[in-house]
């Protein structure tokens, strides 16, 4: 593999990990709120969270382009702080985050729903505040599901293509991910040149998902 290919692999792993870290606190919070409470507009939020799974990725990319473009509501705001999003590595991170968010929320939500509510209730009768119940009972018992959700989100981000291509473009050395590079090689009729990246992309995602499966099936240590 060439130095450029290694750089593409490393860049993809970094933005995928970063996007997963960025969505983790929000995903956990929304999943917990959906799983544990009834509130006005809950169904609407649940539906909105799931949208990136079903809306065509290029359409999501276009929406992000409109939001984060220089004249977009978020883009103009971030521009004031000198943060350029579109056609930068930040756009790749945003696209990966948005596209993998539903997987994290769905998996974490299931994990929270599987935590026995009776344990939380008894913790409250033992004097625990809501924050302590969440920190010492709910989160530890849901942790394997949350980790599995984060792994799925990372794997999804590794393979993200459509939204990224629209919002970040295909810029060598700047926004080039494994998926974008494979696509570009195919467009140039250099299918063979794309094979090492294809292999690495499959290998990384395979190992990641395998680790996720092992973690989610392992019995809690304590």
């Amino acid at each position: 593999m060439t130095g450029e290919a290694w750089q593409i692999v490393w860049f993809t792993v970094r933005v995928s990990a970063l996007s997963t870290l960025v969505i983790l606190p929000f995903g956990i919070a929304i999943a917990w709120l959906i799983a544990r409470y009834d509130w006005p507009g809950k169904t609407v939020v649940e539906t909105a969270v799931m949208l990136p799974l079903f809306v065509p990725p290029v359409a999501t990319g276009l929406l992000l382009l409109m939001l984060f473009g220089r004249n977009g509501p978020l883009g103009s705001l971030l521009n004031r702080f000198g943060w350029e999003i579109i056609f930068t590595w930040r756009a790749v991170t945003v696209a990966c985050a948005v596209m993998s968010f539903p997987l994290l929320v769905r998996t974490a939500q299931t994990a929270f729903e599987e935590v026995n509510r009776r344990l939380e209730e008894i913790a409250r009768t033992l004097g625990a505040s809501e924050w302590r119940v969440l920190r010492t009972i709910t989160l530890p018992l849901a942790s394997r599901g949350i980790v599995a959700g984060a792994v799925l989100a990372f794997a999804r981000a590794m393979g993200e293509f459509g939204a990224t291509a629209v919002v970040a473009g295909i810029i060598p050395g700047k926004t080039m991910t494994i998926s974008l590079s494979i696509y570009q090689q195919i467009q140039l009729g250099q299918d063979t040149a794309a094979l090492p990246l294809l292999f690495f992309s499959i290998a990384i995602v395979f190992v990641t998902v395998l680790c996720g499966q092992i973690i989610s099936r392992r019995k809690p240590s304590r």
């Binding site: 026995n116 009776r118 344990l119 209730e121 008894i122 913790a123 409250r124 009768t125 033992l126 004097g127 625990a128 505040s129 010492t136 009972i137 530890p140 018992l141 809690p220 304590r222």
Partner: protein, 229 residues
């Protein structure tokens, strides 16, 4: 102990629990068929269910008052609750389970130390163990000890021995008597088992379909001779 449930009404599936009663005995038994509202009554006292009407008071502390919209959260009630399934925290070891409520409510009470409670409940050798490695009887005693260590003003026990065989029940009844005699914690004890009521309770309330049918001594209510008390 003086627990007053003043025309408390709780909506349940299919019927409404309506209780107007005062609990003053050291150990009060609640007896009644399945689905009569016994567990819901305990959950209401513990603050896990919100009544639709009435007023509840434990000693001088208002637990619930529908007229002013007051519902004291469970964590501020200092009412221990041991449910039927015990609800021991599976990811914590025995010691961490025991200390879960102790740190916040029990500390400062000199007679209520971890050492003393585990000795009385005969679980000193179990403190480092994994919860899932305990036998049914051991889990039961850990459940009782955890609730006691939270220094409750009232302890609610919901059929705590329903999953145990009769031999194990006989061995565990003395531990419940120790809770009553050693720690002087008032108990409300729900059970289907007449022998548990006669061994432990000063008074028994008969509950049927959410209504209090009658109350009196265990002998009178169950038509049995009192044993082992």
């Amino acid at each position: 102990m003086n627990l007053v449930l003043d025309q408390v009404r709780v909506r349940l599936e299919g019927f409404t629990l309506e209780i107007d009663a005062t609990f003053e005995s050291p150990v009060t038994g609640i007896f009644g068929p399945s689905g009569s509202g016994k567990t819901s009554l305990l959950e209401t006292i513990a603050g896990l269910r919100r009544p639709i009407a009435g007023k509840a008071k434990l000693n001088d502390k208002i637990l619930f008052d529908a007229a002013v919209g007051l519902h004291l959260p469970p964590r501020l009630r200092r009412i221990g609750y041991v449910p039927q399934d015990l609800a021991l925290f599976p990811h914590l070891n025995v010691e961490a389970n025991l200390l879960y409520g102790y740190r916040h409510q029990g500390a400062g009470n000199d007679s209520l130390t971890l050492k003393h409670v585990v000795e009385v409940m005969e679980i000193s050798d179990l403190v480092d163990r994994d919860i899932r490695s305990l036998s049914g009887g051991e889990q039961q005693r850990v459940g009782f000890a955890r609730a006691i260590l939270s220094a409750p003003r009232l302890l609610l026990l919901d059929e705590p021995m329903s999953n145990l065989d009769s031999r194990l029940k006989t061995r565990l009844i003395p531990f419940l008597q120790r809770i009553r005699d050693e720690f002087h914690v008032p108990l409300i004890y729900v059970t289907h088992d007449a022998s548990e009521l006669t061994a432990l309770c000063d008074e028994v309330l008969i509950l049927e379909r959410g209504r209090l049918l009658e109350r009196g001594s265990p002998e009178k209510m169950l038509g049995l001779d009192r044993v082992n008390c």
